[in-house]
Symmetry: D2
Subunit: 305 residues, 4 copies
């Protein structure tokens, strides 16, 4: 099936209009609260080189937890599957920032896509690179081919200031012996990752390797084919907080969302997508974004199921 | 890619030998404890009519929780998506028979594949059919084309006798108002479903509609294409208890397991599989069976990811 | 200090008037829902033979969980401290009928005054007496000296019919191996205990042994002095569900409440009291009853603290 | 009954010998791990001026959580019962440093004697005094009459360094809005309190006001009679972590323990006691200390029950 991707995105753009702005803009990170709920963008990159976009696809936003996808990839490159000694790969069944499960399970986070898991991944990266912030940005610049990718210092500062819950998680991990670095160093690098600014087109490009057997168009092999599939599997079961089951049911693609309103999704072998709209549903995923992806797989039948 | 399925199964059969028997035979249902841990069978049905099998693929075993897949399908046929009012579709993050989550979430089970969820599905079926046991067996006979499919009365009686945990779950559901029928009627029909005896070939045939846009080869449309995809999605995120993430990571296919040692898996658009080996890993899924499916997707690259 | 007990009760009766009826009549056991919320009675028995009462102290009501006090006493007589092998003596920190803690703590109930604990106590009694219902009533008749003490068959039937949560608890206990008798036999005897009808004067008399070194005025030694103190200790830390801390803080006496609106309290060495008023506070204890006991210890300074 | 207190203590000293050293010395605060497990001391102060001591009663140790008793008293003096808006007074049913309950109950700690509760009490004190460390020490010096009471800087530094769990609790409280001061300021003052060094005689003297209607022998009224009773009530239901029920059952007195091996206990109207022995039972209370107090109430029948 050849897909006229621009036509599909245009159709979605028309149909999604009434839903844009539904949901809530999170207010616990002040700079995020200032973004207009009316924004909506979507971009798509195919493995054979097509690329389409609509709406605000060129406007950068705070990638927030989508960064967990790139951190996991980086950690895979650095230490391979040994990372699973310190973090699980099961859905959590609880909100992304809960401490309950972490205490019951004695400091082993359920998966790398909840905050506790990403803190452990961050600790792993810190152990293996000299200049972690630079390494992280270079990696994103490489896989997107866009040298201007950078963080928002305003968001970074705001996260450091308001991150009591993440600070509680990090201290609990430390107490259980599952952080090797200083708590504040881990948090600081974690918040740095969350504060990266990218747009839909850049994020679709950055995740194309996951649809392409591990290879990025410009940068070459990011991870092996096997690892790319595995990252997709973890995304599908754990990528959208405690709405992973619903996302699989409605959208049917591996995806990773962030509270900045972005969602990245992958059609294995075919393409990567990114949608952005800041107002969130009750599970913390973009309301219009989730709906747009649902429209996409309904129209194209590209669900993995 | 054309697949010589018999060759693949034969290869798996050779490689899996050292692992057969690893794990534990569950002892809480006495008739199940008597089955030899040395059994191993595997069968495969493609949507274009091929069929292959190895080992003990023709020996019937207790399908146990694999029945939850057929119960959910039946309920979908009877009431459609309205069933989601009474049961969720999120991974549970807890063992299959836990009461903790059910109490916290006030009687709405996490998904139809944990025991509490299957009890609610059972209650829904009871509401819409006159002779539930007959309906259930007829349905299985239809989609397999095998009129001799039936239950083991020994297993059925043993489950009724030992099912204290399920009785606790059913009473808690009743207390929360999420069972409409008498607790013992629901349990009795639930245990009936678990006590069905089928072999790998029959189970692969019975689940082929999930790989075939909802259509069974002989019986015609079982559910719509859309519903078939959705059942696959729920299987992938919730089908193997609290090891769903690991199963997705290793195998990469929607699958549903039972404590009888069987696992059904689906390659959307291509084929359905069933593997059986009674000794279970710590998550309650067949040890050799899970490994055999992992070998299968590694060899064939047929993971959905 | 000599106490003019009638004067004190009369004063309380006057002051409590505006509070009678505040709170909620529980509706899950239909016969209890029919009792008027305007009822209020209080009775007191001293170890030196005084006895006073006010209001509806002579009207019998459903003793409900106050029966747990007498069941624990009976079990102490039958098996002594060996009962602590099967039930703990720590406050639960959760509602009286929660299954969560019981599952986490693998079938050992926190204490004999939550429902799960009382079911284990019931199982222990069943093991040691031939005609448990008769034994139970005889025991109450003996320690009160009132041969007419009996159950309400209407309440008994209603409990059997609506007791899904207790049935869930009993099945979970059975699953963990902490019930030796048939689940329905245990439940039936448990509901029998809850269905006993007594009035404030009878209940004050029935618990006088706890204030009197284990001796009942007519019946003689009920338990040893040491055991009487220990039962008082368990009452103080566990007797009023998850409001035990608040009850100790406000009232300062060992006490045991029931959802029928009764509360028994003990002033060690001095006297026993019973208050009754059917409308309950949010923790399931009589609203006016708790306040009346608080007034009592404020006026008399008889708190144990 | 006149009590020859020295005789009683001497008897206990003889009988307790075989138990001294049983249990475990906690190792998570290095300076505490260096104290000899063979230490045992006990002291008693009566409201009519008697005072007795045995063993190592004059050797100072780290009072640790016993400080929570004095912090609660200080907070009562500063803000009265309004402190209950920010902390409960129910037993927790979970270990002293658990985050689970705190998350479920949205940042309101169960009681002032678990770590989370004491952090809130610490925050309250910080709000009302200018020089909190000085105020705290002055208060202890006043109620003991011993001007040399001070902290161990070694313990203080060690706590600051190793307190990841407490840091997690404090950040979670901050996240829920139940800390008004800077997290590190609250922790620093909290660790200061834990690091106070006192001996048995000093601690018995310091808690005598709780047995004496709120009045300290030298310092006069510490709190009102009513508040003294209430503090005793909270101690009895919550003072010994999740062994409060067992402590009430065995000892039958309001008591507060610390991981330094000390336990303070109160006989209302009569006397205060302190026992010290560093090796702890599995609930974190001094093994020999608990036994010694049990012997004391068995011998003297001074249990409140």
């Amino acid at each position: 099936m050849t897909l006229n991707c621009q036509e599909v995105l245009d159709e979605i753009h028309r149909e999604i209009q009434p839903l844009i702005g539904r949901g809530t803009i999170p207010d616990y990170i002040p700079p995020l609260a200032k973004v207009s709920g009316k924004k909506f963008g979507m971009a798509l990159q195919t493995t054979d080189g097509q690329s389409c976009e609509i709406g605000d696809a060129a406007e950068r936003f705070s990638i927030q937890s989508i960064s967990k996808l790139f951190s996991l990839t980086l950690a895979f490159r650095l230490v391979g599957t040994s990372l699973w000694k310190r973090v699980g790969r099961e859905p959590s069944g609880t909100p992304f920032n809960s401490l309950v499960q972490l205490e019951y399970e004695r400091g082993i986070p359920r998966n790398p896509f909840i905050n506790a898991g990403a803190l452990v991944i961050t600790d792993i990266i810190l152990e293996h690179v000299d200049d972690p912030q630079k390494t992280y940005l270079s990696f994103l610049q490489q896989i997107t081919g866009i040298p201007s990718v950078k963080i928002s210092k305003t968001v970074y500062q705001a996260e450091i200031k308001s991150g009591h819950r993440n600070r509680a998680l990090a201290n609990l991990l430390k107490d259980f012996g599952n952080l090797r670095h200083n708590v504040e160093d881990v948090l600081s690098f974690y918040f740095f990752q969350c504060a990266v600014m990218m747009n839909c087109t850049e994020l679709a490009m950055a995740s194309l390797f996951l649809a392409n057997n591990g290879e990025a168009p410009v940068a070459g092999e990011v991870v092996s084919q096997r690892h790319a599939k595995r990252i997709n599997a973890v995304m599908l079961t754990c990528g959208t907080y405690d709405a992973a089951g619903d996302f699989a049911y409605r959208v049917g693609l591996p995806g990773k969302s962030g509270v900045g309103g972005g969602i990245v999704a992958v059609v294995p072998g075919r393409m990567s997508l990114c949608v952005w709209s800041p107002a969130l549903n009750s599970a913390g995923n973009s309301y219009a974004g989730t709906k747009a992806l649902e429209l996409f797989t309904t129209k194209t039948r590209l669900s993995v199921f």
